[in-house]
Amino acid sequence: MTNSRPRPISPHLQIYKPQLTAVLSSLHRVSGLFLSAAAVGLAGWVITLALGESVFAIVQQFLSSGYGTGLIALGLFGFFYHLANGLRHLCWDRGYGYDIKNVYRSGWIVVACSITAGIVAILIAL
């Protein structure tokens, strides 16, 4: 078969108008990837506890810096979002909320809950 002219290709992601459903789905994956890194960080933090006070102090110094605080805040939002959307997934797994109306309703609930929980957690931490 010769490729004298380009073959038709299936539509890619950027063809579509961003919709709540697709955006939240991608966000679940992105937050999952970020939280995986955070999980490694948490395990590392526990390991530094065993390595002694001087090592722990260095890590703690980074975590209390601007970058560290930013990462923790991002991690909190990511955690609450992934948690809320994960519970939404568990409801779907049980067969609830599959119709378009409820998918959008639960989507907005997830957005509201995760932003609220993230802000509350950050306010308590300050």
Partner: protein
Amino acid sequence: MDRRCVLYYGRDCCHSDRALNDYLDRELVNTPSSEPGLQHWRWQRGSALVLTPFGLWFIFQMLLLPDFEYQTVISWLATMFNSFAMTVLLIALLVHSLLGLQVVIEDYIANPLQRTLIRITRFIGIAILAASITSIFTI
């Protein structure tokens, strides 16, 4: 059961990498299964259910901690309940992460490399998990 098969992105049925999935699941889960994708599904959901209370517990505990001095954190972790809960949290967290990363790798990376990457992430993840749990109990 049938509904679950469909929900897991069709990976349960007739997936070309069935043999590979079977092998990898056995490595992590240690129970041979006729439905490897279903095992993945169950462990992902099971770890999610564990992470819901334990993750929230950990965040609350950290928010309640008066400061992050070495002695404060050590004495927090040294109690029986906290070290046990921390162990459960880390296991569930790493299992859930590894299963999630596996799906992401399967979606974007083609096969000889895919297989290698999944094994590397599992190796690193399990090594970190082992080191962190050892740390908890040597404190």
